[in-house]
C-alpha cells in the first residue's frame, strides 16, 4: 500500500515534484507515466527511503518514509532506474549479499529461486560485468523480488529488454501485482495499458491525470484520427473533398504526402471518406487510424504546445 499527499521535492532552487497526491492499494499495479524530467525517479526515490521529501507525507506499507524509513525499506523492493550492480561480483554472490543485508533465511535457496524467476539461473556463477544490459536489468529485478516485498517499486523495468523478455517480465510483474502493490514507471503508453490497473500521468512534477487505463483512453480520445495516402500527389482538391464529408473535423496534409483527418469518436467516417476519395478519381493506397502517442496525450493534458519546438 502506498499513500502520498502533498509530496514536494526541491533540488536546490529547482522543484522536481510539486504537491503530489496519489495512492496505490494492495493487489494493484499502478503505472507512473511521464516524459523525461517529469519527476518519476524523484518520487520513487522518496518512496523507497533513499532521500527525504522537502515537504509532504508518504506512507508505504503502513510506515512513514521519513519517520520509519527502516521499516519501509524492509518491505519495499526497488529496481532503480540506473540498475546499479556490483559488476565485479557473480550474480549469485551479489544477490546473496543483498539477501544477507535483508536477513533472508535460507538465502542460497531463495537466490536460486529468484534467478530462476528471471530466467538467469544458468548465469548464476558468471560475473555481472559480463552480462548483457537486458540480463543486468533482470538481475536488478531479481534483487527487488528477493525478500518478497509487500510493495514493489520499479523504475522503467522493461527498458533495454528484447521483445520476448518484455513479455516475460510483464507477465512476472502482473503475477506479483495480484497480491502486492506495484508502482512502475514507464514512457510507454502501451506498456501502461498492458500491465497497469491504473495510470498516473505526471508532467513537470505534477500529476495531470489519474485514472484506469480504459477511462483515460476514452477520455483522451474525444476525437479519433486517421491518415490516408493516394497514388501521386495529395493535392488541394483531395483535401477539399475530404473536408466536405460530414463528420470530418480537421484535415491536414503531412510532409510525407499523407493526409490526416480527425473525426468525433464513435462516429467513424472512414468508410465514407474512402468512398468519396475513390469516387473523385484517386487511387486509394492506404487508410489507417493513428493512435495517440504519449507526447500527444501530454499535449492534450497539459495544454502545452511542444509542436513549435
Amino acid at each position: 500500500m502506498i499513500k502520498v499527499s502533498g509530496l514536494t521535492k526541491d533540488y536546490g532552487a529547482r522543484r522536481a515534484i510539486n504537491n503530489l497526491k496519489f495512492d496505490a492499494q494492495q493487489g494493484e499495479i499502478v503505472g507512473f507515466l511521464g516524459p523525461n524530467g517529469a519527476g518519476k525517479t524523484t518520487t520513487m526515490r522518496i518512496l523507497t527511503g533513499y532521500m527525504p521529501p522537502t515537504d509532504g507525507e508518504a506512507i508505504v506499507a503502513g510506515y512513514d518514509v521519513v519517520e520509519e524509513s527502516l521499516e519501509v525499506r524492509k518491505r519495499v523492493g526497488y529496481l532503480p532506474e540506473t540498475v546499479p550492480l556490483y559488476t565485479d561480483m557473480t550474480a549469485f554472490d551479489y544477490l546473496k549479499f543483498m539477501g544477507e543485508l535483508r536477513h533472508i533465511p535460507n538465502v542460497d535457496d531463495r537466490v536460486e529461486e529468484v534467478l530462476d524467476m528471471v530466467g538467469l539461473i544458468d548465469r548464476a556463477d558468471g560475473y555481472i560485468g559480463n552480462l548483457s544490459k537486458g540480463m543486468r536489468q533482470r538481475i536488478g529485478l531479481a534483487q527487488a523480488l528477493l525478500h518478497r516485498p509487500e510493495v514493489l517499486i520499479l523504475d522503467e523495468p522493461t527498458i533495454g529488454l528484447d521483445p520476448g523478455q518484455v513479455v516475460e517480465v510483464r507477465e512476472l510483474i502482473r503475477e506479483i501485482g495480484k497480491e502486492r502493490t506495484v508502482l512502475l514507471s514507464t514512457h510507454l503508453l502501451n506498456e501502461a495499458q498492458n500491465i497497469c490497473d491504473r495510470v498516473l500521468i505526471i508532467n513537470k512534477g505534477k500529476i495531470v491525470a489519474e485514472d484506469t487505463t480504459e477511462n483515460l483512453q476514452a477520455r483522451l480520445i474525444g476525437a479519433e484520427r486517421a491518415v490516408l495516402r493516394v497514388r501521386g500527389e495529395s493535392d488541394d482538391d483531395l483535401v477539399k473533398t475530404i473536408r466536405a464529408i460530414k463528420g470530418v473535423q480537421a484535415v491536414e496534409t503531412k510532409d510525407d504526402g499523407m493526409v490526416e483527418f480527425e473525426f468525433a469518436s464513435g462516429k467513424d467516417v472512414r468508410p465514407e471518406v474512402a468512398k468519396q476519395v475513390i469516387k473523385s478519381g484517386y487511387d486509394l493506397l492506404e487508410l489507417r487510424p493513428i493512435g495517440m502517442s504519449l507526447e500527444e496525450i501530454f499535449l492534450e493534458l497539459t495544454g502545452s504546445d511542444s509542436k513549435n519546438k
Binding site: 533540488y11 527502516l70 540506473t82 546499479p84 549479499f97 543483498m98 543485508l101 536477513h103
Partner: protein, 246 residues
Amino acid sequence: MRTIWTIAKREYDNYFNSPLAYVVAFSIVLPVGIYFSLIMYVSAQQSMMGGPPPDSTPINWLFVFLMIFLSPALTMRLLSDEARMGTLELLLTAPVRDFELVAGKFLGAFLFVLTIALFTLIFPIIINNFVTPGIDWKVIIASYIGLVLVCGALLALGTGISAIFTNQFAAFFVTFGLFFFLWFMVNLPANYLQQGGDVYNYLSLSQHFSSMNRGTIALGDIVYYISLIALGLFAGTTAIEIRRWR
C-alpha cells in the same frame, strides 16, 4: 551488528580480488621484512658480544609509518565508489542504517590490515627464537596494541573522508594530507611555544604511537585513538546523511 558484518565481509573479500590491495600489502610486508632481517643481523652480532637484548619495536614503527602513505589507498574507494557507481542507491534503500554502512566498510578495511599485521607477528616470534633470553613480550604486546589502534584511527578517518567524495582520488589526497598533517606537523608548534604546547603534542598521531611502541599503554593514548575512530565514523555517517538530503 549482523548488517555491519555482512558489509565488512564483502569488503574484506573484495580486497583479495583487488590488485591495489595486494600492492599495499606487499609494500608494507616487504620493507618490514627487510627491516626485520637487518635487526636480526645486528642483534645476533650484539648478543654474541653480550650486548642488549634485541628490540623488535622499530618494525611496528615502520609499519605505522608506511600506513600513513598507503592506508589512504585502502580506504579511498570504500564509499566514494559506491556513490560513483550508483550502488549507494541499493545500500541506502536496503534496511541498512547509515552508521552500519560506514562501520561495515571501516571494519572490512580494518580486518584486512589486521590480517597484514598478524602476518608481521612472525617477525618478533622468529627473533624470540633466535636470541636468548628472548624478547620482552610486554613491549611487543603494547606495541601491537598501539599498532592496531593507530591503524584503526587511520582507517576510520579514511573511511569517513571517502564518504564525502565521489571521486576516489580526491578522497585519497585529502586523506593523505590529513594523515601527513597529524603525523608530522600538528606537534610542530609545541617546539616553539613556552606554554600550551601539550595540546599540539596530544593531537599528534606519532607522539601517541611512540610512547605505546616503547611499551607503555596510557589511558590517554587509548582515548585519543578511540576518539579518532569515533570521529571518522561519525564524519562518514554524517556525510552519507547529507548526501540523502541533497
